[in-house]
Subunit: 850 residues, 2 copies
């Protein structure tokens, strides 16, 4: 132990005092030699928290007095809380303490900040032991606590259930309108039925696999959280997980249900009226968009009231995380399985049909053609529906958790704001969708863009209204941050358009390179894919920095992060419209297929569906750019939610993810590794499944005589069956990997660094999530845009450039398109889901590695 | 301001004292109310440093006393330094201070730790103001300073100049031996001369571009460092930069000089004696290996003594950083330019020759064939020579900077250890190289592997010797950490072999997929590329964690980081051997080309060169795996050097890179972005240049009659010239980007976050470097191994599998090989350089954004 060495002056005092009054002198002596510090923790409504309190809170201050000196401390501990400006003290309480040297004691003080005169301000905390002021720390480091008034609950919150229900009604109305449209001829009906049956069969088998996995994981969650926290919490999180999984499944199913029925209506309408064909396809797509957004709102807000009733509203969002994880989990498998199915069928059908047999796309003589058309539905509709459901759910929940940190300023408003913003976005989208109509002979894309711009402008205005009424004095900065998100989403669409549209340099370059063969086509396409990742990354960087700055200029603690959340909310406010555009693609693709296969469509109708199909390709590329952009922007929001969650569980502020530490760097490396390995498996699955399809089609050509002459019908169902089996078998490994790698990394680092301070496991997992997100955003952009560019380069040549169809350039371009297929429709979209699942899986299992 | 509120007890004392002696009472009153803290900084030999001192140091303790109270502080400040165990105090000095409330004063104490009785231990620091103990912080956070004895300089350091000179002599000896070998026939000589002339012409033009850029950058460095630090430091760093650039250029030139002369000797030997052909090729390669490693040792140690003479040895490594940057800068352009040249020529020649005209590889009727053979030399020899020179230089310097942090324990030994370990590795390699001889009819690869294993075992033993004599009591842990590196390098070679060799599943899969066309070949190859990144990443993670643990178990501060440095040193101890294997490739490739083009080679000779060429392909793939692995492992070492550099310049400890901060996350995003964009440009350059070559060869076929019949000679020089122009034009943008992006990110973040505490610019750049490294390692592995696998799948088919040459599967495999070419020989290797240059460019320009 350290020597106590009294200073000369205090020694002189002590000698003098001895002459006068010994007992008093001893007390003075003690006072002079106080060597202590005080660590202050805040219990707010019974939960340990970061020091920020609302005036409505019931606060206990736990002061941990450490005696660092050589003597016993016997005296009074005074805790003082107040602003520098206000002379009236908030708290000035004293309790007697007695601490042995080198020991610690805990003293509790009650504090009712309701008496506070100055609100929305930082209060200093000081402590005084036996008359000597001592060093104070809080969980936030600084000896400070923020006292906020906590806004009263805004009436606007009521819009959430209203919008959800109206959204659902709107979707049902749209669906009924679409189903009421005229069906097609018997031949068309036959094709459409075959597609529907194949899709239903696949979904049935896929869902039984997925829900078996879901059940297993639900039990794991219940066990893990039940043991480490308590069984009630475990039950709630596991329950939310199952609920999220079921909702995600429904979202996927409904999307497909409408789309496999809308396809024939569009095909029929294309024979009568171009405008009507566009409207049916768009409204059919809108059903998915509205179902997804409305169900996500209903699910999240329903759970919020169910789990939150009568408790602290700040605890509930953490319980809802399970909902997001359930949604992501199902979406991952739905997108992977659907993505493998659609592209294996497409690649297989193209290679054996177009390249080997020399028959056109969607030719009824190709045994894999129905599997290809089924794939469009199960991959693009069912898969994407589940994907976008989990996106909206995860982002809603992440933003709500950020709102918790701002509770002292905004009260429940801060938590519910994300849902309110989303509800307004739904109204904006209703208007936009209804406006999609052709004006005269204009290009259908123009009409769709018009609808989008109207939606974006309305969403921006509504966003302003929501911030103004819910976020108090700082509304304007947050409104601007939201605008940053809306503007960023517009730019992302423009960047994606530049890289994937035939009118610009990248696609032109690829088409030109096709003249020298498949090798240069692939090299050029791949270089476009690599290059196209740059601008979105820079845009994301700018959006993050500007929205963070706008938020932090409010001066609120965590205001910067809430600014980035606002940008995310802004970007997502048009999500339902984007979703509608996305589902538009497979409906028109199918309509074209039905026209082609039925063999009775007039040339004019084929031209219309072909143009709509081309637009569908463009919108699909755009929505993928948007999905990656929003995933990147939302990532920051989900990181922060994770940090808050770890803070809540460990009771110490967890806010630094230091990648200069070896174990954290290793976590980051594992994040990038997971993204690459996952993509590798996804793409390989397509290659493997496609090979089996090719062999099957070849077998049928050989063994069933008369197929090529059109006198015998190929066995379509067999191809659908083979594809289904291949897709389901190959989706399990990458899916399980995505769940297992973060958990394993967290556990290994936790036990390898058990002696380190902080939560090394949780920190490594955070780095995994962050760098995994960066790697995922880059790779997803590469794959989506590269794939889109290859596809459109092929289309450009098919329009008669560089020799047109059947030329050497065209053959090269077909190879590029084939390579691009699993990039843009299997690995790319699965990566969107992976990025967000990284955040929810780490949130749910956080108790394992803290 | 805060109210002063004396405690009741001290108030009572004050009243009592008033009755006795007023002046004394005032002094006691002051003592009771001291509210101050002391921040202690260490000036060691005049430089502000992290608190760790050697007993030989001349130390000044600067105590910054902050008066946090309401009264003026008038009294004594006592600073006390000592261990808890030792009763004798190291320092117990007192000075009078007077500080106004809210103000600060600085007091300096001299300290001579040579008196110390306990060494290699942490000492506590306490401060006492007017008799009251106050809170102390140091630059390291904890109130602690480490006092070490500092080992005496080991005699082993002398091995560095000896090994450098012996290494150079060995290289000269090898070169002379190779040049003494028998030349070939006049026809062979003609081809060889054409290659040499083309290579010389390219290098001449390339070097004039590179050195113009170097001169510009040298002036920029001089100006930036001259203005922000001082002109002498700027001059030294700029001088080191130019020196490094020149050495890197020489390394590239020498590698090529020998290789363009060894090729004909190997071709001639292949007609006489297989064993002799192998030995010539291996020794020709060894010249590059030894020149590179010896020159790097000579350059770094020479600068160390030149810049370090008479000053603190701890300052010198920071000045040498310029050397590493110069080396990287030249290597980046050399590798990029050479890589674009070689692959544009290769792709162009293959597409127009093999695919279009249907003539074999290296057929003299192909106008691009000489350009192709020139490319092997300028890309693989000159480019790789410069690349590996910068690797060894950057890693030596990074490890030396880490050694600086351990100066109190190891003295100069810790700084010089990396050079000593490398010197020992050179001796081990000499033995290994001399052992490469065929035993009977065995496969040449076996002989090469035998040489490698001998080198590795010897290197491990020598490493043990070096640690034992230089690193004191902790030698064993550091030895084990070094072994981790050596073992990791073996595993990396095995993993690379698995993914690129024809005997294993990945290459077999690609070959099999070729049957269904180029599309499935590319998809499968790309999925192999994605998948193959996982195992090296996991291996790297394990090596980092284990070596860090081994280092930190020594208990030395920074011991963990030094452990990772040891692993890097271990991995690099066989670098010269790996380099020799790498340069072996282009020599044998050229020998095969000469045999083919001369038209007078017996079948037997062609078989030998063909087998040697295949082995060269394998060793080239292996060495690339090794280069990426060592870059990843060394990255951590260079990060730490960067953190130390920032600490040194700012005077506050800079050790946390918190990617949970928006601006740091943005830096990380920019790192990944740079890697993708850079690769995109590099690959596009190959595509663009290849197109111009294809047009030229087509033109020659058309305009020069008699080429196809062999009656007229194509204009080879024209193709070389076109390729040269294309490569040089296209290397500038990506190269400049690699320098500009880190600097721009640092500057932008610095000014956008000018008000934040710490060094936001430097932190964002650190994240850029770290995540850029992760992204670079992943993408480089994808490209190198993917490319290698495609190449070998093609070779596998050419051996007669799946229909052999001219089959549809072969055509598909040729497309895959064409795509793989720029992956594995342009973008991949350039990424190795980029990763390391990220570290050196940020180190040199750190003064800009701190």
């Amino acid at each position: 132990m350290v020597q106590r060495r009294p200073s000369p002056s205090s020694f002189a005092v002590a000698v003098l005092l001895l002459l006068v009054a010994v007992p008093v002198a001893v007390s003075a002596q003690q006072a002079t030699n106080v060597q202590a510090d005080v660590a202050v923790h805040f219990l707010i409504n019974g939960e340990q928290r970061v020091p920020a309190v609302s005036i409505k809170d019931d606060v206990t201050i736990v002061a941990e007095v450490n005696n660092n000196g050589m003597d016993a401390l016997n005296g009074n501990l005074i805790i003082w809380v107040g602003t520098e400006a206000a002379p009236t003290l908030e708290l000035n309480a004293s309790k007697h303490i007695s601490v042995e040297p080198g020991k610690m004691t805990e003293v509790e003080f009650k504090w009712t900040p309701a008496k506070s005169t100055t609100k929305d301000a930082p209060y200093k905390i000081r402590a005084n032991v036996s008359g000597v002021e001592v060093h104070v720390t809080t969980d936030k480091g600084k000896a400070e606590v923020f006292v906020g008034e906590g806004a009263t609950e805004s009436k606007l919150i009521l819009i959430v259930p209203i919008a959800s229900i109206l959204g659902l009604l709107f979707a049902i109305g749209m669906a009924m309108w679409v189903l009421r449209q005229k069906g097609g001829s018997a031949k068309m009906q036959e094709v459409s039925d075959a597609i529907r049956e194949g899709a239903d069969a696949f979904l049935k088998r896929q869902y039984s696999t997925i829900f078996a996995l879901t059940a297993i994981l639900a039990v794991v969650i219940l066990a893990v959280v039940g043991v480490t926290v308590d069984i009630a919490t475990g039950g709630r999180i596991a329950g939310a997980f199952v609920f999220g999984a079921v909702c995600s499944g429904i979202a996927g199913y409904v999307g497909m249900y409408v789309s496999v029925r809308a396809n024939i209506k569009v095909a029929q309408a294309s024979r009568e009226d171009a405008n009507r064909a566009l409207t049916i396809a768009m409204r059919g797509g809108a059903v998915t968009g509205f179902i997804v957004v409305a169900m996500s709102l209903l699910g999240v807000s329903g759970l919020y009231y169910l789990y939150g009733y009568g408790t602290d509203p700040r605890l509930t969002p953490f319980l809802i995380v399970g909902f997001g994880f359930g949604a992501s989990f199902v979406a991952l498998f739905a997108q992977l399985g659907g993505g493998i199915f659609t592209k294996a069928a497409d690649v297989g059908a193209d290679l054996v049909g177009k390249v080997e047999a020399g028959i056109p796309e969607d030719d009824p003589r190709n045994a894999a053609v129905i599997a290809d058309l089924v794939g469009d539905n199960v991959g693009d509709c069912a898969g994407r529906g589940a994907d976008l459901f989990e996106s909206t759910a995860a982002e809603n929940i992440g933003a709500m958790i950020l709102g918790v940190a701002l509770y002292p300023y905004f009260g429940v408003n801060g938590i519910m704001f994300p849902l309110v913003a989303r509800s307004f976005g739904l109204f904006a989208t209703m208007v936009g969708i209804m406006l999609v109509k052709l004006r005269g002979e204009e290009d259908p894309l123009k009409a769709m863009n018009r609808g989008y711009y109207v939606t974006a402008v309305l969403a921006a205005m509504f966003f302003g209204v929501a911030t103004y009424f819910m976020l108090g004095d700082n509304w304007f900065n947050f409104f601007l941050a939201g605008l940053v998100g809306i503007i960023a989403s517009l730019f992302i669409l423009l960047i994606t358009l530049y890289y994937t549209d035939r009118d610009y340099r990248p696609v032109q370059d690829i088409a030109k390179a096709s003249q020298t063969g498949a090798g240069t086509n692939i090299i050029t396409g791949f270089s476009v894919g690599l290059e196209c990742t740059a601008l979105p990354a820079i845009l994301l960087a700018i959006a993050l920095i500007v929205s963070f700055k706008l938020g932090s200029l409010t001066g609120l603690p965590n205001g910067g992060l809430y600014g980035t959340a606002m940008a995310t909310m802004g970007m997502l406010s048009t999500a339902a419209y984007i979703l509608a555009m996305d589902t538009f693609g497979p409906i028109t693709d199918n309509a074209g297929g039905i026209n082609e296969m039925s063999g009775d469509a007039p040339k004019e109708a084929e031209k219309i569906t072909s143009r709509l199909d081309a637009i569908g390709n463009t919108t699909k590329a755009l929505t993928k750019g948007y999905a990656v952009g929003s995933a990147g922007l939302a990532a920051f929001l989900l990181f922060s939610a994770y940090l808050d969650e770890v803070t809540k569980y460990t009771g110490t502020v967890f806010s630094v993810i230091d990648i200069a530490k070896v174990e954290v760097f290793v976590g980051a490396l594992m994040g990038a590794m997971l993204v690459y390995l996952f993509s590798g498996f996804a793409i390989r699955a397509v290659g493997k499944t496609a090979s089996t399809i090719i062999s099957e089609v070849r077998r049928q050509f050989k063994e069933i005589p008369g197929i090529m002459e059109g006198t015998a019908k190929p066995d379509y169902a067999k191809c659908v069956d083979i594809t289904t089996t291949g897709a389901l078998k190959n989706m399990v490994v990458p899916g399980v990997l995505a769940v297992a790698v973060p958990i394993a990394t967290g556990l290994i680092v936790k036990y390898a660094y058990g002696d380190a301070s902080g939560s090394p496991g949780a920190e490594a997992v955070a780095a995994l999530m962050m760098v995994g997100t960066i790697a995922g955003v880059m790779l997803a952009n590469l794959m989506n845009n590269g794939g889109g560019a290859w596809d459109n380069a092929k289309k450009f040549i098919e329009e008669g450039n560089y020799g047109g169809k059947k030329s050497e350039a065209h053959k090269a371009a077909v190879v590029g398109d084939t390579v691009g297929d699993p990039f843009k429709d299997t690995a790319g979209p699965s990566l969107h889901v992976l990025i967000k699942m990284l955040a929810t899986v780490t949130l749910v299992f956080v108790v394992l590695y803290i």
